[in-house]
Amino acid sequence: MAAVAARELVDGEVVFVGIGLPNLACNLARRTHAPNLVLIYESGAVGATPSRLPVSIGDPALVTGSLMVCGMADVFQLFLQNGRIEVGFLGGAQVDRHGNINTTVIGPYKKPKVRLPGSGGAAEIAIHAQRILIVSKLSPRGFPERVDFVTSPGQRVAKVITDKGVLERDTASGDLVLAGLYPGVEIAEVRAGVGWPLQSRPRLARLDPPTPEELQLLREVLDPQRLYLTS
């Protein structure tokens, strides 16, 4: 997933980075095809070049050697609301057929079955970043037809990168549709992982597995302790 997400990023883009796999994807892209990617973390580090895997969104390694550090009012007003962010990464407990994301509650808001962390910056990232990428493992619980709570609206979701394939938002219907598969994965496996009748693009892209170079960077340089990589 990290390698596929990395390939979505274009050299020179300004990316709002989240922790975990999005961070791996961005730093992989920066070390391969997109050396001029500008990484902005919501904690205020701009042009960060972390020399270790950041364990939180406010890791001190994001500051050391970055181009700029600003307060959070500047992050949200001068960068995000100003329209300077081209790509935003989001994830969530639930993603629905329209790309809406829930990171707030499972069950009713006032009597939640599970209380999740909440929005953080996810509401405004979804509203202001020009293109949203979601990285999430596929499962029927995680991909219901409707989320229990819309934390981040789905209008700007471009792609959902999962462990089985990639979904895209169809502009006509507003639905997420299957756009690409990993080698050896059947369409039925993806359909089994979502809670609505998933449509497919007429021609599905074949997603290449990670190259030896990508694997080596991910496993030996970016996440040697396997905090976020599972294999």
Partner: protein, 292 residues
């Protein structure tokens, strides 16, 4: 610390301990727990472990926040238990919403406008998120009310005796929170001479004019970090998952590391290998010429 909390933090207060991952005054939070403050409205973008501890200790009546997780790890279980049981009142925003609330408070305006929340369920969950029609363009903009805490506590790397406080590294929303507040406690790693502050005035984030008390408390932000002084104690953040999940473990933690010590010096003395493990390396900046 004991005197500052006794004087400036009162039962029922709206209390802010800010710092985004960086410079979170755990020392102040622990002292508030030791002094058994009650019915506090705790506000922070990220409640973090410190508010989880204060909720578990019974200090909080209400929590105002925008992201309540254990950063990079998972959940805050005392917070989750309290919300799922309905024993803690919550008022929830997004990060931008909280930042905007502090900005309005700091500018002494009644509210702040932002382009946010369209298509989200947050305004339904929190009726204090409203909207206004722009008188110039007719655009509908979201609004959030000013947040003016009774007391804001900020941890900084250094300050002089008057409270002119300098911060570097992540700045979070400390400046806005401090200016929005009725009273401000500055907690520092190091007390420095006023000449040190004057040699580098651009680094001053909080001026003495708004500071009520200055507390010198080295290592006072542990297990969060202070850039240039010590790293985040990630092992502790990871370990909190198991501690906070179990009420007994959590009570035991508070007994040993909060109620069981007089203050931060004793807290550090209980963990003799900690300083060595998290002490920061050297990475000096180039320096600038302030001459004219």
């Amino acid at each position: 610390m004991q005197d500052a909390v006794a004087r400036h933090v009162r039962d029922g207060d709206v209390v802010v301990i800010e710092g985004f991952t960086h410079l979170i005054s755990f020392a102040a939070g622990h002292e508030i727990i030791r002094q058994r403050r009650r019915d506090l409205t705790l506000c922070r973008l990220t409640p973090d472990l410190i508010y989880d501890q204060m909720i578990a200790a019974g200090c909080a009546k209400k929590l105002v926040f925008s992201w309540a997780g254990n950063p990079g790890v998972g959940s805050l279980h005392a917070f989750r238990r309290a919300v799922e049981a309905g024993t803690l009142e919550i008022e929830e925003y997004s990060h931008f919403g909280m930042v905007a609330r502090f900005s309005a408070g700091a500018a002494r305006l009644p509210f702040w406008t932002l382009r946010d929340y369209a298509g989200t369920d947050l305004p339904r969950a929190n009726p204090r998120i409203k909207s206004v029609t722009c008188p110039y363009t007719g655009e509908e903009l979201a609004t959030v009310p000013a947040l003016n805490p009774d007391v804001t506590i900020v941890h900084a790397q250094r300050a002089d005796a008057q409270g002119n406080a300098q911060i570097w590294g992540l700045l979070g929303v400390q400046k806005e929170a401090a200016f929005a507040s009725e009273r401000v406690i500055v907690v520092v790693e190091e007390l420095v001479d006023e000449r040190v502050i004057r040699s580098d005035p651009n680094r001053t984030v909080i001026p003495a004019a708004i500071v009520s008390a200055v507390v010198v408390e080295p290592w006072g932000a542990h297990p969060s970090y202070a850039q240039g002084y010590y790293d985040r104690d990630n092992d502790f953040y990871v370990g909190w998952e198991a501690i906070s999940k179990d009420r007994g473990e959590l009570a035991h933690y508070l007994d040993e590391f909060v109620y069981g010590v007089q203050g931060r010096a004793e807290y550090m003395a209980k963990q003799p290998r900690l300083m060595e493990r998290i002490k920061a390396g050297e990475q000096r900046c180039a320096g600038v010429n302030y001459g004219y």
